[in-house]
């Protein structure tokens, strides 16, 4: 008996020793290898200050650093700035900078570099994203080599969020002096990976930056391929041609999970999809009609049936995970209530209207609009569906009230500063009517504007988020849109890939810790 136990123990021990290396290899990060990343589109620009696309920003995040950056859950954490202080009036921000950081071209990072980058935003060049900083920053001063001081024009409670915006990546002043606007074709940052080439329509290639300040990255090389067709991306992943792909169509996810040959990973994004009313048009000037339409749409069923659960219902214009998002009580599905409100507003039999939607711009956008159209029909609202390619769509919507033909329009809005103010203000404030801003439904509520203003000048996060909560409650009472849902971004990857970042900003990228099994 004793002998048997001993033998069993021995066998177990031998087994453990034999299996250990395999288990160790699977969990211990390995160094080296090329990552092939199937992206849905080409970057628009690799110059961070001129980027306005997810592919551009995602590639940028692998090459660049920021003063402060978002972690995977959109918390703000130190990056090139190690610490900071804010004056009592909220106007002066002082940042201590990280020492020993070098750009890919050898230029050392210091306070002059920070000043150069912000002077570029504030100066005559006016890169595309200049308007992120021009209304807020007065000046930037070098205090000493590793201390920099920002003076703001107005207190701005979202200043750190602006610094973490993809556009505010620090670029090499030497490279910018040399290339000017063509920096997009020769980007130079401080990030974990260095730029090699960009063959438009085909690939962007990056290599490991051995001098990266957080340590040597594990992957040798990254090839970001442009693979426009959704099915081709999925098939390519299954064939092993790509290690990582973005934007898997929801209907493919159950099959991929069942077969288990690749891994899928869905992350809630902060992109909110809604159907905005044009309140300058009847009957949308009537608050009861706007409320009624919110009651009329069964959002839960849309999430379940069209998105296969890869979306979340949102209470207002603001998607979850944004700083300052409040899960306020919103509209349940209640067609009877919708009919009652419509009758009170003088439309007992509904009315005819139109609903504009893009097709293929956002996840399932057209299908979503179709579902909304059908559900509005059940309360008597006949909306004709209008669609166009993105260029024509923008041209049709970005019009002053008198020329705007859309009664309702569907859009997706993802605050790239990851805060609720950006989810509300540019699209709903009284002073943001097109052409001044992106308020294309011409909604205006002075109380909302005031709450946002109070949030902006708040010097404590608690006070700021309280105002934002009240703003979101007000948006429920006085709806600017039919509030729908926030999509989830599903990435697919090889079973051998570890440590991919699927940021709620809809940015999928890798960092120094990402690794691939051999």
């Amino acid at each position: 008996m004793r002998r048997t136990w001993w033998g069993f123990g021995m066998a177990l021990l031998v087994g453990v020793i034999a299996l250990a290396p395999a288990a160790w290899a699977a969990t211990q990060p390995q160094v080296g290898g090329t990552l092939v990343y199937g992206a849905g589109a080409d970057p628009d620009s690799l110059d961070p200050a001129n980027t306005d696309s997810n592919p551009g920003e995602a590639v940028g995040r692998m090459m660049n650093n920021f003063l402060v950056r978002f972690d995977a859950k959109l918390n703000l954490v130190p990056d090139l700035a190690t610490s900071w202080t804010q004056s009592k009036d909220g106007l002066i921000w002082t940042f201590k900078l990280r020492k020993g950081v070098k750009f890919h071209d050898g230029t050392p990072f210091n306070a002059q570099v920070v000043k150069y980058n912000f002077d570029r935003f504030l100066g005559p060049e006016k890169p595309l994203k200049a308007s992120l900083h021009t209304p807020i920053i007065q000046s930037v001063e070098v205090v000493d080599e590793f201390t920099v001081k920002f003076t703001l024009k107005v207190p701005f409670a979202f200043f750190l969020n602006n610094l973490a915006h993809s556009a505010t990546a620090m670029v090499s002043p030497e490279a910018h002096k040399k290339w000017g606007k063509d920096l997009t074709l020769h980007p130079v940052g401080t990030g974990p990976f260095k730029f090699v080439e960009w063959v438009r329509g085909d690939r962007v290639v990056l290599v490991r930056n051995d001098d990266y300040y957080e340590g040597k990255p594990r992957l040798d090389r990254i090839i970001v391929r442009t693979v426009r067709e959704d099915s081709a991306r999925v098939l390519g992943l299954e064939a092993g041609d790509y290690d990582l792909i973005v934007r898997i169509p929801p209907e493919e996810v159950p099959r991929l999970m069942r077969e288990g040959r690749v891994r899928t990973y869905a992350e809630q994004s902060n992109r909110a999809l809604w159907v905005k009313f044009n309140v300058t048009k009847k009957p949308f000037d009537d608050i009861r009609v706007r409320q009624a339409l919110n009651y009329a749409v069964d959002k839960e069923s849309i999430v379940k049936n069209i998105y296969q659960g890869l979306a979340a219902v949102i209470p207002t214009l603001v998607g979850p995970l944004n700083n300052g998002y409040a899960p306020v009580k919103s509209y349940p599905y209640d067609p009877a209530m919708a009919k009652k409100l419509l009758a009170e507003a003088g439309y007992p039999n509904g009315f005819k209207t139109n609903l504009w939607t893009p097709k293929g711009r956002y996840l399932k956008d057209f299908e979503l609009a179709q579902a909304v159209q059908q559900q509005l029909q059940t309360v008597g609202v006949e909306a004709s569906l209008e669609t166009a390619d993105w260029g024509s769509y923008l041209a049709a919507l970005r019009k002053p009230p008198a020329e705007n033909k859309a009664d309702m329009h569907l859009l997706g809005w993802s605050p790239s500063t990851a805060e609720a103010r950006w989810g509300i203000y540019p699209i709903s404030a009284c002073d943001q009517f097109y052409p001044r801003g992106s308020n294309l439904g011409f909604y205006c509520n002075k109380d909302l504007d005031e709450l946002i203003t109070k949030a902006v000048v708040a010097t404590s996060l608690k006070a700021r988020d309280q105002r934002l909560r009240e703003a979101q409650e007000l948006l429920v009472k006085d709806p600017a849109a039919i509030y729908l849902l926030a999509t989830k971004e599903t990435v697919g990857m090889s079973l051998k890939l570890h440590g991919v970042i699927n940021s709620p900003l809809e940015l999928v990228y890798v960092d120094k810790d990402t690794w691939k099994e051999k």
């Binding site: 970057p43 628009d44 438009r200 329509g201 391929r225 081709a232 098939l235 064939a239 260029g391």
Partner: protein, 306 residues
């Protein structure tokens, strides 16, 4: 002959002028604005206007067109509004790739098409004839998109024989060439068969047989050479279309060809890229037509150009 070729090449000038003018007008008639697309949804009108000024889009249309013609004549096609890549470099990259893909595809298409067509015509109404003409019907009717995905599924995902997409090596070209070439193969097969059957009834074929030539000599030297003229026409047209870009094939297989450049340029309202691609496509089409005409004379010495 030489003066004929030169004359045809000179004809390119008015052709290109017409093509660029029409595409320019069409592009500007479509709603949408490159500056607005570049600036995005969050941009203010000020941002958009700044871009319009930078790329001269605020100028009257006539001025914009003449400026374009002026620099194009000097060989400067400008830069992409979308990405700032020089248009000329983009075109060279894309044309080089499209040429590779088209050559492999037309090789695949003519190998399959000619063989199937010849055998079918010599064994009219046989099982092979029926099968190959049925296959040709499939080839013509099958949507390229679907065929492409099917090829990827079988040869890349299941069998792991070939890459699913992307460019690089000859192996990357095999599946796209089959997808792209299959429709052309079908057209060539049907045309070869019909033309061969027509020629086979001619007196000189009977004479050749009566003289005692071997059947293979009759078919290849007497019949095929004479049957080639209509086949060549089809061949030239198919090759021309391929060189003009095969946007569906390029999309399914993620290939950087001229077709996708053109279509994506249109969606981005990237005027310089679209204009450049139109010039490239028109030029290749005209040149391929010219080559076809010259080839007629080679196959049929009775055809002479003076």
């Amino acid at each position: 002959m030489l003066s004929y070729i030169l004359r045809r090449i000179l004809m390119l000038v008015p052709v290109l002028f017409g093509v660029t003018l029409i595409s320019f007008l069409l592009l500007h008639m479509v709603p949408g604005d490159p500056a607005e697309l570049l600036a995005g949804l969050e941009a203010t009108k000020e941002d958009v206007d700044r871009i319009r000024t930078e790329y001269g889009l605020d100028q009257p249309l006539a001025v914009q067109y003449l400026r374009f013609v002026g620099s194009a004549v000097r060989g400067d096609l400008g830069i992409s509004i979308q990405s700032r890549h020089p248009v000329f470099t983009l075109l060279l990259q894309r044309l080089a790739f499209t040429l590779q893909l088209s050559l492999v595809s037309i090789l695949v298409a003519s190998a399959i098409g000619l063989v199937a067509g010849i055998i079918s015509s010599t064994r009219q109404y046989s099982a092979f004839d029926t099968a190959s003409m049925l296959g040709a019907l499939f080839g013509i009717s099958m949507p390229i998109f679907w065929l492409g995905l099917l090829l990827i599924l079988v040869f890349a995902v299941r069998l792991h024989w070939l890459p699913s997409g992307g460019a690089g090596t000859l192996r990357h070209l095999i599946l796209p060439a089959i997808a792209l070439g299959s429709a052309s193969a079908a057209v060539i097969a049907r045309m070869t068969r019909a033309s061969m059957l027509e020629v086979a009834r001619q007196d000189y074929i009977r004479t050749a047989r009566a003289t005692g030539y071997r059947e293979s000599v009759v078919i290849f030297r007497h019949a095929l050479k004479n049957a080639m003229i209509p086949v060549l026409t089809v061949f030239g047209l198919e090759f021309g279309y391929m060189l003009g870009g095969a946007v569906l094939t390029e999309t399914v297989f993620s290939l950087p060809g001229i077709g996708r450049l053109l279509v994506e340029g249109i969606f981005a309202r990237d005027y310089p890229v679209v204009q450049g691609a139109m010039i490239a496509v028109a030029t290749t089409f005209v040149l391929v037509n010219l080559l076809t005409d010259v080839a007629y004379a080679f196959f049929d010495p009775r055809i002479r150009y003076e």
